[in-house]
């Protein structure tokens, strides 16, 4: 895992392009998905905070899952929900302290940010570089 998804709220202009990109990227059988990223009001003038899964080190969603449906993907650094294993008990939705594990009622499944399998669409469409996906090594330098 040498790539990192970075959110820089100061650069966000609240255009919600990321929401659209997310929703359309995760379309299944023509049904648009619930967006997994939410640009919300940060409570200051011109401050928008794109709230998205932080891929925590010790995630509450994984701890709360009683059937081990949420697995860490070593290649992308994302925790992914295996929809075939998920039993829809909503434990992770209730447990996530950032509210980033969501129930998609249209697709009838629990969803969370999976970094699009290593190529996040929101970062590609963000016009202001508030969302970026880049090498963790280049950031250190």
């Amino acid at each position: 895992m040498n790539m990192r998804f970075e959110v820089t709220p100061n650069l966000c202009i609240g255009c919600r392009t990321c929401e659209l990109a997310c929703s359309f990227t995760h379309t299944i059988e023509g049904k648009q998905a619930r967006s997994r990223i939410y640009p919300l009001d940060g409570g200051l003038k011109d401050l928008w905070v794109p709230v998205v899964c932080l891929q925590c080190d010790d995630p509450a969603c994984v701890k709360s899952c009683l059937v081990d449906a949420i697995k860490f993907n070593v290649d992308t650094g994302a925790y992914e929900i295996d929809d075939e294993v998920c039993v829809r008990c909503m434990a992770c939705v209730a447990a996530c302290p950032f509210g980033c594990s969501l129930f998609d009622s249209h697709q009838n499944r629990v969803v969370k940010c999976d970094l699009c399998g290593g190529d996040p669409a929101c970062a590609k469409f963000c016009p202001t570089q508030a969302l970026t996906y880049k090498s963790a090594l280049s950031h250190a330098g």
């Binding site: 919300l40 940060g42 409570g43 701890k63 449906a69 209730a94 509210g99």
Partner: protein, 262 residues
């Protein structure tokens, strides 16, 4: 890695992997009602039956349930041969005799051209096919609140002694994963009732949206070390609070204070 052939196509698999898993991964379909990835395969519905053979078997063939059959080298699989279809039709006739009014069973039988069972229908049919997905998931989650009870004609899914189960947390996993929607529950946002037990729902104080039952949250706090306060808010309020928290960090560098939430 070994090579096996499914309907004449060569696919790769790990030795000992179950056949249905290999078939699904490679896009081959077989009907299955008792299969759920969260629990071990069960071989209960007998619908994922396929025909297998090997070159060294000199033309002998065998019918196996693919969900429980570990693959080995040189296996030749036919998923829709004449014998398989016959076998599936028999199973569907039996299922249809047990559940003549169940939509999912009727739809599946119709795919194989069966409208009415050739066997005598049971006197008081219900929608349960005894696949045990509900009880197996309940076991896998660590509750074991319900189980299959009695034998023969009287076999059914039930809580212990047919009383409200003490170990049930009202997570609804049994009802939501039932392939025939047999397990009934009511949920009005304030309370939830299943297996004759009534649960209080936790609700977001700001939006009023229900999250999970109080008993389930207490279970997760006790056994999975999720802090109790995480269950105090719903997901929407959690996100709003996260945004405000970032706002507070940003406020350190600005001559401004974070606005109160509307």
């Amino acid at each position: 890695m070994i090579n096996i052939s499914i309907n004449g196509r060569l696919v790769q698999a790990e030795e000992g992997e179950f056949l249905l898993t290999v078939m699904k991964r490679n896009g081959f379909k077989a009907p299955a009602l008792c299969h759920h990835e969260a629990v071990e395969p069960y071989g209960g519905c007998r619908l994922c039956m396929v025909e297998i053979s090997k070159p060294q078997w000199k033309g002998w063939k065998d019918l196996v349930v693919s969900c429980l059959y570990p693959v080995s080298a040189d296996l030749e699989v036919q998923t829709d041969s004449e014998a398989v279809i016959q076998e599936r039709k028999t199973v569907l006739h039996l299922l249809l005799a047990r559940n003549p009014h169940t939509k999912e069973i009727k739809d599946l039988a119709a795919e194989y051209g069966i409208v009415r069972s050739k066997y005598q229908e049971v006197a008081e049919p219900d929608d349960c096919i005894l696949c045990a997905i509900c009880t197996r998931i309940c076991d896998a989650m660590g509750f074991s609140a319900i189980s299959l009870v009695n034998r023969g004609h009287g076999r059914e899914v039930a809580p212990p002694l047919n009383e409200p189960p003490p170990d049930c947390t009202g997570c609804l996993a049994c009802a939501l994963n039932c392939p025939t929607n047999y397990i009934k529950y009511t949920d009005n946002g304030m309370t939830r009732e299943i297996w004759g037990k009534t649960f209080e729902m936790l609700r977001d104080p700001q939006t009023g949206m229900p999250t999970i039952t109080r008993v389930f949250a207490e279970y997760l706090t006790k056994h999975r070390e999720i802090p109790e306060e995480y269950f105090g808010l719903g997901d929407e309020s959690h996100r709003k609070r996260t945004a405000r928290n970032f706002g507070k960090i940003a406020a350190w560098t600005r001559e401004e204070t974070v606005r109160e939430e509307a």
